[in-house]
């Protein structure tokens, strides 16, 4: 009996893990399969569960053209570049702005410090989705429609980065900075050469989280980009599909979906350790 229990103790978690992996991987696997058949086969409902011969041609066609018989879109190449710019600018810009703020809050004393800090913190209460149309008005007033500035600046407003870095900066021993000052280093030099290198793991974690956040944005780019040339890939693919009818160039749509997943997935896989650490240590 005990032996039996030990056996099931090994076996049962395995069954769950395999089922879970199937649930996660099945839709993704079928996206690859869909990207490897021609649209006629898919459109007649004849697509098998195994990969077909056209994967590379479809991926290339999506990358360079992306328009087919029933799908009109700009090339993935351009949407991919837009997404990359948005994600990078949001991640780097937000990290830069919030690390400067955190630096001022932790290591300086100045009048109205708390007032300023709280007015930045309060942004946590109201996500962009809730002030979306007024933000859109502001962006049009500032002439930011269809621009990278319009796509990115409003997404940088949030206090999460500031909070995380404030916590990290606080754990830096002050003696380190005092010693550097004695050696003649000014505050900016201390920032670049001591403080930022010390919190590198936190910066890596923030970078993954913010890059994914920027890449996966939906509602804001939907409003702020009216020109197809400025579309991000997540918006582009939804516009491409329109209504999910049988007679769409599914081969192109699924190839674009694969493209849309590539970069964020690679980043998450490569930086998995920092992502997990960053999420679980900062968000609580």
């Amino acid at each position: 009996m005990r032996k039996f229990r030990k056996l099931t103790g090994q076996f049962f978690p395995y069954v769950i893990l395999v089922l879970g992996a199937a649930l996660i991987l099945f839709p993704v696997y079928l996206a690859f399969v869909g990207a490897s058949w021609d649209s006629a086969t898919i459109g007649r409902g004849l697509m098998p569960l195994s990969p077909g011969p056209h994967f590379l041609t479809n991926m290339w066609r999506a990358w360079t053209v992306a328009s087919g018989e029933r799908v009109l879109s700009i090339p993935v190449r351009q949407m991919f570049l837009n997404s990359l710019i948005v994600a990078l600018v949001v991640a780097v810009g937000k990290i830069l702005a919030s690390s400067l703020t955190a630096y001022a809050v932790v290591f300086f004393q100045f009048p109205f410090k708390n007032l300023f800090f709280w007015s930045i913190l309060i942004t946590l209460m109201l996500p962009l989705e809730m002030r979306i149309f007024p933000s859109y008005r502001v962006a049009t007033n500032l002439n930011l429609l269809n621009s990278y500035a319009g796509l990115t600046l409003p997404l940088m407003v949030s206090a999460t980065g500031t909070l995380v870095l404030r916590g990290a900066f606080r754990s830096i021993p002050r003696e380190m900075l005092d010693a550097a000052q004695v050696d003649g280093a000014g505050p900016l030099r201390c920032f670049w050469q001591i403080v930022l290198p010390v919190v590198r793991p936190n910066l890596a974690a923030l970078f993954v989280i913010l890059f994914i956040y920027g890449w996966n944005q939906y509602m804001w780019p939907l409003l702020i980009t009216t020109k197809p040339a400025m579309q991000t890939i997540v918006i582009g693919i939804v516009r491409m599909l329109g209504i999910a009818e049988a007679l769409v160039d599914w081969d192109l749509v699924m190839a674009t979906a694969v493209w849309a997943m590539t970069l964020p997935v690679v980043i998450v896989l490569v930086m998995q350790r920092w992502l997990i650490k960053g999420l679980t240590e900062t968000e609580k």
Binding site: P27, F108, V268, Q272
Partner: protein, 294 residues
């Protein structure tokens, strides 16, 4: 205790906070104030002029049966999405925390949907569940189910919940696994020595110790179901069929973008904010009491 400042510059700290403060001012305080003000405006049909109408937009909302339907739908979605995503993620985390061969590979598999945008996951599942050409859609037809989420409300709602929960699995998994790993192994072993069954150990020892994680995740999941489902719904159903998947956020978007009724849309943002604040406060007041912080 307040630590003494390290640096004594007077002007520099203001320059340091200036970028973020400017961003917050322009893209947060300005639009937030505008939202509050607009929620009390009514524009003429041509959108040329608007006049102050006080709380009329709010009164109109709460007399609109479709709006009340959206409120109910958002809550039902929030409960079903959160419960599904958290229950499955917990099960996976418990299994992945066991010392079985290949646990690391499985962990990686469960983490990576974190990278997939909600709208893109909607496209993946739409391909599977497409009634005529989708693999699952065809299979359902094969066994005699009249499957068409573009016509059948219940099926559309089911699909939105499925996709939204699927996408959220990895987030919940990451937190549950971290929570499980922080539970001292000695506690679990002591229970086993005392003769407690694995199930007993889990519900009496592990699950209560996980409660801070569960509590945190509940708040995050409810927020996620309110806001992030927008991408799924817009990619898949556009709120339809009829208004079957028109959540609060989607309705606010439709009123602002399609119907160009900025005042009504702004009023909905204010209501939404109130709902989110109330839910969070409720959770802190009544649920957090049951949480055991170690």
């Amino acid at each position: 205790m307040k630590a003494a400042p390290v640096f004594r510059n007077r002007l520099l700290p203001y320059l340091l906070i200036l970028p973020q403060l400017a961003l917050t001012g322009v893209f947060f305080f300005w639009p937030a104030a505008m939202a509050l003000y607009q929620s009390m405006l009514k524009a003429d049909p041509f959108g040329l002029r608007s006049r102050f109408v006080g709380l009329a937009n709010f009164i109109r909302l709460f007399h609109d049966p479709y709006y009340l339907g959206s409120v109910r739908l958002s809550f039902v979605f929030a409960v079903l999405i959160s419960v599904t995503a958290m229950a499955i993620a917990l099960l996976l985390a418990v299994a992945a925390n066991k010392h079985v061969r290949g646990a690391k590979v499985f962990r990686t598999i469960f983490v990576w949907p974190y990278a997939v945008a909600p709208a893109v996951s909607a496209i993946l599942w739409a391909f599977l569940f497409q009634p005529e050409i989708g693999v699952v859609g065809r299979a359902l037809k094969g066994v005699g189910v009249t499957w068409n989420p573009y016509l059948n409300s219940l099926q559309a709602q089911f699909l939105v919940i499925l996709i939204a929960a699927w996408k959220q699995l990895s987030y919940n998994f990451i937190f549950f696994l971290a929570g499980l790993q922080s539970i001292p192994q000695s506690l679990v072993e002591a229970a086993a020595v005392d003769g407690a069954s694995p199930r007993h150990t889990f519900w009496r020892i592990v699950f209560p110790l996980l409660s801070p994680t569960t509590f945190f995740l509940t708040i995050m999941n409810v927020n996620y179901s309110f806001f992030e489902t927008f991408g799924v719904i817009d990619a898949l159903t556009q709120g339809g069929p009829g208004k079957a998947t028109e959540t609060l956020v989607y309705r606010a978007y439709v009123d602002g973008r399609v119907n160009l009724n900025i005042g009504l849309s702004a009023a909905q943002s204010v209501v939404l904010l109130a709902i989110v604040v109330l839910i969070t406060a409720f959770q802190f007041k009544y649920v957090e009491r049951r949480v055991h912080y170690a």
